[in-house]
Symmetry: C2
Subunit: 388 residues, 2 copies
């Protein structure tokens, strides 16, 4: 069972984060502690730097009651978004404010030793630039472009991360930066957390879909990120969208969603039409330049994605679907295809309040979600002890 | 914010339910209350009857400490499973023990006034038979064979419940039985809760699929039932499993899962083959009698269901899928079709520990789930006040 002191401390911090400041009396009301216990706990929080005195509340006569506030700058967070060709590193405070950040081109295939080394160097430099110290880091959050074993934080047979299978990401980052709290998840879950925290904090049921080289989803249900039994919930890229086809997928099956609508499949199909594309960015460029074939193909890709999302909508009944990832930047054609099928193929009750939108944090959701993982953890019953 | 007294009371009850009994010192440890507060709260719980003294713990010298236990018989629950042609009513205690139950044939089309009247009469009779009083009822839980608006507990355009659209089920049962706490959900969610509570209490990610006249699912994810934004999560019967088809569904679309594999569709297809069936029970009977055509058709239905479940497995990553409902009683053919597609079309990581099984609570899951809804609520922070 959780120590009741810990519960009281996290509850007090939660209230301060919501209400901006609390009087001693409000702390007493929220915890049920006696006066002397409240005083001791507030002292403890002040000693940790997480709570500071904050002016004085309006008095009803006599000595004005002391007022306390959460101090989000007491600790910093290292947030890392690792892609196949980029690493974005940000230093944030405990209220998601980005203090400083950097985008570095990398090659994920260089392996964990080289890539994590680069990332750690950048993080150390950014922390110094922000005028902070490594011992002020509450934790490191990192999103990886592949499946992650939830229990160990290790990549599990990641198809586009050669050399990373089973890599001890947590252990290596702890070694490099001397920070014991390291949280790892796949990029899509991290983007879902970031989009939720930044743009839709009051939406309880949100589905984030990343359409890039592969296709994946992260679901916030009743306010909580779905992980599933093995931590692979949302891995929808290999759902069959076409039966009796010979279109081969990277996974060995045929007719998978990503074999019809993922970035690599679109590049294949664009080339077959004689269009000159090598990267997702090329695909996006052609569509945005108004190429009719390219636009039509993005709409068709959207329809395939919509087919799988219609099943997800029936199963999860979200009120917002956010389409992110590199190909979401191609504009309305992809979205139109998705909407056509989802609205056409779902029961009215499931779609009457459903919005399907493009990510409004292009490039930023992942790093923000990596910070969210850490903030949620270190201010929870399970994580607060390390900050005291 | 929740009253800290309430939190302490529910936490104490939760611990007693898990550990069977607690000493005063253990209550102090778990709540952080002082001695006099613990004494007052234990008095309050004893006065409510929810907690009773329970012998004495081994003493370390001096006066033996008093020991307390949860008393599940302090209140009773009315659990109702309403189907198209049956009503099952059970009286349970607060630990899911069924005290008495009754199965009554009904016609759902008689409407809420008649059906709820019948059900209330049966409940009142059963309560008396169990030697209990109406004022000892903690709450009523009821599962309905159609979509339910989560906020109001009212059926919403239920396709097989003529006359029930928008019916005030809560209000009517409160009126008839004088019980203010009434919880309503659709039958599939209730069955998922029941199967989870009875058979898989330690499984955190479970998907329950009802294959009857229609097809629906209820998902327990991270231990919690998914409701979705509108309370219609799991309504998978109208996901498209066949494109470019003219097979019409009851919903107005074509190629829906239930139009290919639901009970009404199977009866249609069996008849087209000249087989003499009128009900789901007839279909089950033919398959169990070894009819080769019937067995083949159930396997095909299983494959369609598997197609949708493969998408659900990718999205939710459950570790157990339970197949229930009338047609699940037809034996291995349906299950074989489901397994073939789910295991064949999912990524290895999502299925390496996935079990797909037939419900082991045939007929009993729904009523048990209805009781679970009530027990979870009345012993929670939101519901406990009514019992004190």
């Amino acid at each position: 069972m959780t120590d009741p002191t810990i519960k009281g401390l996290t509850e007090t911090l939660r209230l301060m984060r919501t209400k901006s400041e609390l009087t001693r009396a409000e702390v007493t009301d929220s915890t049920g502690w006696g006066r002397s216990t409240v005083a001791a706990r507030l002292d403890q929080l002040q000693a940790s730097g997480l709570v500071v005195p904050s002016g004085e509340a309006a008095s009803t006569g006599g000595r004005p009651p002391a007022v306390f506030a959460f101090a989000p700058g007491a600790r910093v967070v290292v947030a890392i978004d690792l892609g196949v060709t980029h690493a974005r590193v940000a230093i944030t405070d405990l209220s998601h404010q980005i203090l400083t950040s950097h985008l570095e081109p990398i090659a994920i295939g260089d392996g964990p030793e080289a890539v994590l080394g680069t990332v750690a160097e950048i993080a150390a430099r950014l922390i110094a630039e922000a005028g902070r110290r490594l011992d002020e880091v509450a934790g490191i959050g990192i999103g990886l472009p592949g499946p992650v074993d939830h229990a160990t934080g290790r990549p599990t047979n990641p198809p586009i991360m050669p050399g990373w299978d089973g890599a001890d990401v947590r252990g290596r980052l702890t070694e490099l930066l001397g920070v014991s709290t390291v949280l790892v998840d796949n990029d899509v879950n991290v983007m879902a957390l970031g989009e939720h925290a930044l743009v839709y904090p009051t939406v309880d049921n949100l589905l984030f879909v990343k359409v890039g080289t592969g296709i994946g989803a992260g679901s916030i249900s009743a306010g909580v990120l779905l992980q599933g039994a093995e931590g692979v919930a949302g891995d929808i890229g290999h759902v069959a969208v076409l039966e009796n086809t010979e279109v081969a997928c990277r996974c060995g099956n045929t007719g998978c969603l990503e074999a019809m609508a993922g970035g690599w499949a679109l590049i294949r199909d664009f080339k077959a039409l004689g269009l000159d594309v090598e990267t997702n960015a090329d695909v996006v460029g052609l569509v945005r330049a108004g190429n009719a074939d390219a636009s039509r193909m993005l709409r068709t890709a959207g329809r395939y994605i919509g087919q799988v999302l219609a099943a997800c909508v029936s199963m999860l009944n979200p009120s917002v679907i956010v389409i992110g990832g590199r190909l979401a930047e191609s504009g309305e054609h992809l979205l139109a295809g998705i909407r056509e099928v989802v609205y056409g193929r779902s029961l009215p009750l499931a779609t009457r309040n459903l919005r399907i939108v493009t990510s409004s944090t292009i490039g930023g959701a992942a790093v923000m979600g990596a910070a969210t993982m850490v903030i949620n953890h270190v201010l929870s019953d399970a994580g607060i002890a390390d900050l005291l």
